[in-house]
Symmetry: C2
Subunit: 215 residues, 2 copies
């Protein structure tokens, strides 16, 4: 009944009392790309079990990291979104991305894949100084997932969903998008028809140059 705690006067331990349970940080990762419905979260987190998801959502709400808001009709959906305290976890997640990119154990077969996770990873490898003066809007359509990336004022903003006025729209399959993640040249992917690019190829080129895995 009473929640498990490390019971240490230490801000790492205090943070982990809130964040350390299984699935919690992955739930935060999902919400970093925008509000999500209960079933969206279930879908993005195979294996979580409906009771655990409900339990985590309840605890995160009590701890003030997320809020539940009901969209007005006709959408009439209930979504979960990060509060400011939740948003402030982004630096923690981005450091985990950076570390994990180098040190995670080798991926298994049949692992779940969502292109939208890349929207978060991009933030971790974004190089602000390369974006100075740039203003770009990109939309990425990978299988049935859609997310967008906006570059302006030297900042990158990524989120689930389509872009309002995209300079370029990329449409591809999960398999071919992963080639890009593995370091293949987007220009080659475009040439060989693995990416379908609508709009400004130049904008896409500028965009893909904004990232550096070395950090």
């Amino acid at each position: 009944m009473t929640k498990r705690s490390y019971n240490q006067t230490c801000s790492v331990a205090g943070a982990l009392d809130v964040l350390g349970e299984r699935w919690t940080l992955l739930l935060i990762r999902e919400l970093l790309t925008g509000p999500k419905r209960y079933n969206d979260l279930l879908d993005a987190l195979p294996g979580i079990g409906t009771n655990l998801l409900a339990d985590r959502l309840k605890n995160l709400t009590n701890d003030g990291l997320i809020t539940q808001s009901k969209l007005p009709p006709p959408a009439a959906a209930s979504v979960y979104e990060l509060t400011e305290a939740g948003e402030r976890l982004e630096p923690v997640l981005l450091e985990l991305v950076r570390w994990g990119m180098r040190y995670q154990r080798k991926a298994k077969k049949r692992a779940t894949y969502r292109a939208t996770w890349t929207a978060v990873a991009m933030r971790a490898f974004f190089q602000p100084e390369r974006a100075r003066g740039l203003r770009l809007s990109c939309e990425l359509r990978v299988g049935d997932e859609v997310f967008n990336a906006q570059v302006r004022d030297g900042e990158l903003h990524t989120a689930a969903g389509s872009a309002a006025a995209p300079d370029v729209v990329v449409t591809t399959t999960p398999e071919n998008f992963r080639r890009f993640e593995s370091g293949e040249d987007p220009a080659d992917l475009e040439k060989t028809g693995k990416w379908k690019v609508t709009g400004s190829s130049a904008a896409l080129k500028k965009f893909t140059r904004l990232f550096e895995l070395g950090g």
Copy 2:
């Protein structure tokens, strides 16, 4: 038998497969201030249970985050220390410190306290630009704990144990050291005899000005 995994192609999930089990990140925190023996770790992590500690140490070794090294006689102790992959978790831990400092749930009574944890927290709030040109060596003795902080080349290095050639040595109790952590002025603590300062008070003053909780 087989280790539990989120089984997702995502570097956050990959990182959490390695780091996400209970106690693991606190174990890393302990090792960030230097090599520790099995019983040192047991003492710093009340409640962990000897089997879990052994299990975590084994897994972290297999994953390449720590190594076990035997100090030569006469010390003849066996200690665990971080590998480079382990050391690279420092940014993750420091972001957790920053987040946890603002958002952790209110501390309970009878919580475990170790002054050495502050040695890690200091790194999270260190302001390099204020340390330009400074060279300082401080030793902190809090109850039966001793740790040191070295400032040089605009960098801060903290570790368990005493300093080689300290400019200043502070001796105090855990209770009075926590007053400092809560924001009380070190000069006042010194005046009222809550801190015993040996060596250069000026060096101590310069040192305590290098930190900013706002980030």
